[in-house]
Symmetry: C2
Subunit: 221 residues, 2 copies
DNA sequence: AAACATAATTATGAATTCATAATTATGTCA
DNA sequence: TGACATAATTATGAATTCATAATTATGTTT
């Protein structure tokens, strides 16, 4: 795990939830690893009480698993969890696409279009980090564009949980090209504000991503 | 096997999360009301530490709202939350319907059919409590039949959150009749294991329920 | 050495304590 | 009396303490 300097926010546990969740997502704490309560207390300069409160929350979010009298461990990203999660995310994105076409302003759409162009540039330059960044920004903008807090919250939680698996397998050239093509059609439907079609393409987009991911996983083992 | 009736949960906070969540759902603690930390500690015979841990978890689940230095309040069921939640539940049920047709055994389906008959009987007898009970059991069986833990968890959480609003408006005779009709078609598609159709009907079923609910809400104010 | 018993140490769940923010009660003066 | 200041009380967030479960270290016997 990496270090972090002391903090100041509304309440300690709220800050700790975010910080430790990020540690898990960013792989600072690895799946299966024991969460070092004592070390984290020292690293963040807090007592066990708020830290343990944070761990309870993270457990309910699925990032951590509590074992009675045995502390907390970082939750594993199982194959089953991935298989269960992708279809749910796909449906949430479908709904988001439909709603985004209703709620986004022309300016918002122009902004997403700009992001899309940047993403295509990153693809042409074979710049994976920039591609991921723009890609995430686009999906986030579309989810946010749905103006549905429940949808957004649940999507964010699920996306964060499976994001930990992003390094388990890497993006193939074929999948990358296909993803770009799918995004092109998404942009077309967004421009014409065809919610049903945008939703449909976003759903399939995630399903394809899922299939490619699982294929990559199987290829490894 | 044993009928584990005295499942003493390993840790106090886990037990408290369920107990207090139930208090909120069953309206023992009303929306907007301050959560009486002291009283609950005495009532459950625990100290503040596990109880406050439980409140943090319930806050992340959306059942309570924490106010810094001002304790916890039971979250209100706002109109916006209902408007955001129903569409998400509808999509989750749609997916559940599709998956249930794949994963449920003939025996499982026969069991649901029995529940359905009991529900229809309750309708004919105008027995609302029995109707609600059977109705919930059917939906729960279909969600569970999807064999997707992520789907099940998120659906359960959302359903619990809006269930608190069930007494805000009551089931009209027209909506009740329509719901029964929708369930009839659901059963037909389940019997023929037509997942796409079952999913479609379940989605529309929830959307109709939503519309009726909102109409009832507006009629009151 | 290896296997096992047992003692020392550490980690964990939960109660208690403590400092301070928020709230309520009391007193003062117009 | 009523508005306002201030003191007493209570509630809250967080640190600390405490009892015990789990783990590690040590010793004994073969």
């Amino acid at each position: 795990m990496t270090l972090a300097e002391t903090i100041k926010r509304p309440t300690l546990h709220q800050e700790l939830v975010d910080r430790i969740r990020n540690l898990v997502i960013e792989d600072g704490l690895k799946p299966g690893e024991k969460v070092p309560e004592k070390e984290l207390c020292e690293a963040f300069g807090v007592s066990r009480t708020p830290l343990r409160e944070a761990l309870k929350v993270l457990a309910s979010e699925g990032f951590v698993v509590l074992q009675t009298n045995r502390g907390a461990r970082v939750a594993e990203v199982t194959r089953q969890e991935l298989e269960d999660t992708f279809p749910v995310i796909a449906r949430l994105e479908q709904l988001a696409g439909e709603l985004a076409c209703v709620h986004l302003s022309d300016t918002d759409i122009a902004g997403i279009e700009a992001r899309h162009k940047a993403m295509v540039s990153a693809y042409k330059a074979q710049d994976r980090p920039s591609y991921f960044k723009e890609n995430q920004a686009i999906h986030k903008a579309l989810i946010g564009g749905a103006k549905n807090k429940i949808l957004e919250d649940h999507h964010k939680l699920l996306a964060a949980r499976i994001q930990r698996a992003r390094f388990m397998v890497n993006l193939s050239d074929e999948r990358w090209a296909a993803a770009i093509a799918e995004h092109e059609t998404m942009m077309e439907h967004l421009q014409s504000r065809d919610g049903d079609m945008l939703g449909q393409v976003m759903k399939v987009h995630i399903e394809n991503k899922f299939r490619a991911f699982m294929k990559g996983l199987d290829a490894q083992s």
